[in-house]
């Protein structure tokens, strides 16, 4: 484990270990209360739904550590999905449609980054605006309708298995997790992100182009939304404008639960991933147990507030 991260995010490393323990305990408890839950199939199948959240949370981690926030990821997901579906419907070859979706994600993220960096508007307000803007564009393209006809192979990413019982998207999530873990903890970009989240002035004085870094991380997040959008459309085999509802909530909650301070400067990928796992298996467990999906909203909302509360209230200043 990275020596340096251990020392800086001392609070977080303990945190990551604690989260790991919580997760294991949670799995055991859930499998006791819910018969047949803790089978290999159940465990992996549940992951299909949250891989999309997980992938986007990787980007959200970078954003939050840098001291920002992105409320528009759910809306952007809808835009990506709709771009894929409706361009395919309009006659584009499937691979081109997928590329278009990816492009939509990248452009959306870049838009966020540019407005934040150039106009110096707080990320909160910008992404609140794009939260509406992207959703609006998605609805405009889809005209309220949906596309559900795709070539059969398109369902591979979202619905099939690799090596027997590992869902394809989980595999992709694993790869992306490793890549982003490397980016955050082993590259200069990661260093700069921590720096910006801690002290923008010093970072500027050190010769780092803060604006450029911000544009990178929001664009990267947009790219991840693009990937998640492809997976999502593949999984439910439908493209419609209301996809990704409450997605941003789930991502922010996962990152915060993982130990990142909402004000920026600290956090780890491992923490975020565990946060994603804990939150979503909990939600899934409730669903399995018979609770309605709307419980998901309440649980995640609660965890978000409680997570930040624990981070902030008990911190000695």
């Amino acid at each position: 484990m990275n020596n340096i991260i251990k020392k800086i995010n001392f609070y977080n490393l303990n945190r990551t270990q604690v989260l790991g323990i919580i997760f294991i305990v949670q799995m055991i408890v859930q499998s006791i209360f819910i018969p047949y839950y803790f089978s290999i199939y159940g465990f992996f199948d549940a992951s299909r739904a949250f891989v999309e959240i997980g992938i986007i949370s990787l980007g959200m981690t970078l954003v939050i550590i840098s001291g920002g926030i992105d409320l528009s990821v759910g809306a952007l997901l809808a835009l990506v999905s709709v771009s894929i579906g409706f361009s395919y419907d309009a006659g584009f070859p499937m691979w081109a449609a997928m590329l278009l979706g990816l492009l939509a994600g990248v452009l959306g993220g870049a838009f966020n980054g540019v407005v934040i960096a150039f106009f110096r508007v707080h990320p909160l307000v910008v992404t609140l605006g794009t939260f509406a803007l992207f959703r609006g564009i998605a609805f405009a393209i889809s005209k309220g309708g949906a596309v559900s006809k795709f070539p059969e192979w398109f369902g591979f990413l979202g619905q099939s298995y690799v090596w027997g019982y590992v869902p394809a998207q989980l595999f992709l999530f694993l790869i992306l997790s490793i890549i982003f873990w490397i980016i955050l903890s082993k590259t200069s970009l990661g260093r700069y992100i921590y720096a910006i989240g801690n002290n923008i002035k010093t970072t500027t004085f050190s010769g780092i182009a803060v604006g450029k870094v911000q544009i990178y991380i929001y664009t990267l997040t947009g790219f991840l939304v693009g990937v998640a959008g492809i997976i999502h459309t593949s999984r439910i085999f439908t493209a419609r404008g209301n996809a990704g509802f409450e997605l941003e909530l789930a991502c922010i909650a996962a990152v915060v639960l993982g130990g990142a301070r909402i004000t920026g400067g600290s956090g780890t990928m491992a923490g975020t991933i565990l946060g994603v796992l804990i939150l979503n298996y909990l939600k899934d467990g409730f669903l399995f147990y018979g609770l309605r999906s709307d419980w998901g909203l309440v649980i995640i909302g609660l965890f978000l507030i409680i997570g930040v509360f624990i981070n902030e209230f008990f911190r000695k200043k």
Binding site: N2, N3, I4, K7, I8, I182, K186, T187, S188, L189, R191, Y194, A195, N198, N199, K201, T202, T203, T204, F205, S206, G207, I208, A209, G265, S266
Partner: protein
Amino acid sequence: MEDIVCILNNISKTFGENVFACKNVNLKLNCGEVIGLVGENGAGKSTVVKCLYGLHSPSSGSIVIADKEVLFKSPKDSEQHGVFFIPQELDLFPELTIIENLFIGKKIPRNWIGNFDWKVLEKQADEIFNNLGVSFDFYMPLKLLSAANAKLVEIARALINEAKIIIMDEPTAALTQKEVKKIFEIINNLKKKKVSFIYISHRLDEIFEIADSITVLRDGELIISDHKNKFTKSKLVQYMVGRPLDQIFYRTKNKIGKKILEVKHLSYENNFKEVNLELKKGEIVGLAGLIGAGRSELAQTIFGLRKYSSGEIYINEKKININSVNDAIKFGIAYLPEERRSQGLILPFTIIWNMTLSSIKNFTSFGYINNHEEIKFVKKSSEKFTIKGAKISSPVSQLSGGNQQKVLVAKTIATKPKIIILDEPTRGVDVGAKAEIYKIIDDLANQGNAILLISSELNEVISMSDRIYVMHEGKIKGEFQKNEFNAEKIASVSAGII
């Protein structure tokens, strides 16, 4: 009016380890008196005064107001005891109206409907403003007032709250001659009304005009306190500066080479105009001056943090454009910022991460950091600069000020610069570390680097430099060669006297 209204007894303030901002400062303020508080940058004036108005609590010593010992926990506390601070820059609420600012935080009377009855307060405000000799539309937002008038509103607020002691920090910094006259008129009137002042300023002319007595601080200690008639301007400068030519470091012999950096007609907004200076290889050039002279702004402009509005920069006689910090670093310029804690270091980061923040690209291939190389470099630098006190993997906040500064120096030269600008490199550093830093700077010069040393400590500037520029109010007012070095002359030029 010889009643003593306030006594500071042996006020000392330390900020961790051995760094004291002020030590055993005694001050006696009489009723209706103006004390002119003078001293170089870093002499401890603002620390002493912050203890008096409640922003700091003294590490030792006591404050007595009207024969009672007091302990202030906040500016609100001190205001309740009649002590008010008027900062150099407006610190009220521009969006609120004048009368709202005057009475902010206080209870406002109501009329029979239940509305605020500003009319009642208008009378009070009218009286105060009449005494000050001005009149404003009370219902105008504060943001529409000029700097001078806003200052009057701050004074008025203090008076409305029955201020007995008003501390003013560089009150005339942004004022015209006429406005300064007005302020002095007001101070003299208030003196008759038994209000006492502590007047901090670098403008010695003004001190002699307005103050009754003068207190001089140097290096955090009280040097002398006496009636103003006992001072002459040059004597005052002498007290502020200390024994002339107190050599605190002996430079090793160095070879001065060709011109490497030249700046012509450089200007930036209101901060500095038409600055011409040059640096040669292997040379240490001092840049003396007071706070607000524009030295840091000049340095930051050369370093690409600010975009100059006119002028040219030349490196090795070739004209270049600096549009960003990245440009400056590419041209071999480095800048060690004035504020170690807020501009130079990231306190929660480890020593390693701090030291390589500017130069991380030296240890990366395709963005991937080679931790081995990085740690090797940091270990080497730590040894070279004898950084002690914590493991390199600990947060830099655990180090003493001197060691933190050494980390900052190591960070600054990690980009392998040829031109190094140091902004107050030994501020807040204990004596031992200071000597070490001087040696480091000396070595850097010997290696052929050009160094611009911004410092407010005259002894330091004189001991270390080969040549000294003096800045005053945004312009270079003097250049001294080594054989012309004279502490009092330099201080006088800094203060605008010569």
